[in-house]
């Protein structure tokens, strides 16, 4: 049975702010602005899974434009120079960084998977027996970006 642990939207916001200041917005002039719009459309997403004493997933999703802008920021290139490999690499690293920091808030004995990147809307991925426990939904330069956390619920023995 997974241990019940909540990583709040505020926790995710704090981690994401650090990521933005470190890599995507060092001047602090172009932050991710929370909107709370859980239904905003996304076009690409990256995911890391957490296993061990807690089971779940951390999902980073955005529009293609926001993903390309993130890749350009990480790789010090213009958006026009960004290729698909750049996008997948950077989205995977973003999920890895946030997921790794989330893992530190969970009970000891958790393991982080390598990231998976899917060039499709977040809705294309299904997390069986998992439910969303928190999420940060916002806009970055007018483009949708979200980070959500999903907890897997293991069925009780005999059910």
């Amino acid at each position: 049975m997974s241990v019940e642990v909540l990583v709040s939207a505020d926790d995710l916001t704090e981690m994401v702010d650090q990521v933005w200041l470190s890599y995507l917005d060092p001047e602090g002039i172009d932050p991710l602005v929370a909107t709370g719009d859980e239904k905003q459309p996304t076009e690409v997403h990256a995911m890391v899974s957490i296993t061990g004493s807690w089971h779940g997933h951390l999902v980073y999703a955005s529009s293609t434009a926001a993903a390309r802008k993130a890749a350009a920021g990480f790789l010090a290139m213009t958006v026009d120079e960004v290729g698909e490999e750049d996008v997948t690499d950077v989205l995977g690293e973003l999920a890895n960084i946030v997921g790794g920091n989330v893992k530190a808030m969970l009970p000891d004995g958790c393991f982080l998977s390598l990231p998976t990147v899917i060039m499709a809307p977040e809705s294309a991925s299904h997390h069986p027996s998992a439910h969303r426990i928190s999420g940060l939904y916002g806009q970055w330069a007018g483009e949708p970006v979200s980070i959500s956390m999903w907890q897997s619920v293991k069925p009780e023995a005999g059910k």
């Binding site: 200041l21 470190s22 790789l75 950077v90």
Partner: protein, 128 residues
């Protein structure tokens, strides 16, 4: 001076390369621990510094640190873990295995340079 950047993320390798380039390091890079060891085996001059991710395919950063510390030829290399693994017990494991310093992602350029300065790896006159 020369640095080896070991991370399966090309984006993170690029960020780290940019930082150490400002400190006048020449850089070589590898995508995992095994690739780094293979590369080191071909090098006549051992890098002064290795910046090492933890979670990588093939060989993770902790295994790499352990193997480097067991190799007398590589013992002068300064090893810095650069990772999202931020739990205290993981930090202790890395330092016990032989890492000299530990940087948690995300990090700012300034924070990384401060860590390297503490290790005496920031030449006078280099960017800070």
């Amino acid at each position: 001076m020369r640095a080896m950047v070991i991370d399966d993320s090309r984006a993170m390798r690029m960020i780290l390369k940019r930082i150490v380039a400002k400190l006048n390091f020449e850089t070589v890079e590898a995508g995992d621990g095994q690739e780094a060891l293979d590369l080191l085996a071909t090098m006549t001059e051992v890098p002064d510094l290795a910046l090492i991710d933890w979670n990588m395919p093939n060989m993770n950063g902790l295994e790499f640190v352990t193997k480097v510390r067991a190799d007398a030829r590589l013992r002068e290399m300064t090893l810095v873990m650069v990772t999202t693994e931020s739990e205290q017990n993981q930090i202790v494991r890395a330092l016990a295995a032989g890492a000299h310093e530990y940087v948690i992602k995300p990090f700012t350029e300034g924070a990384m340079i401060e860590k390297l300065a503490l290790l005496g790896l920031v030449p006078s006159g280099a960017s800070s």
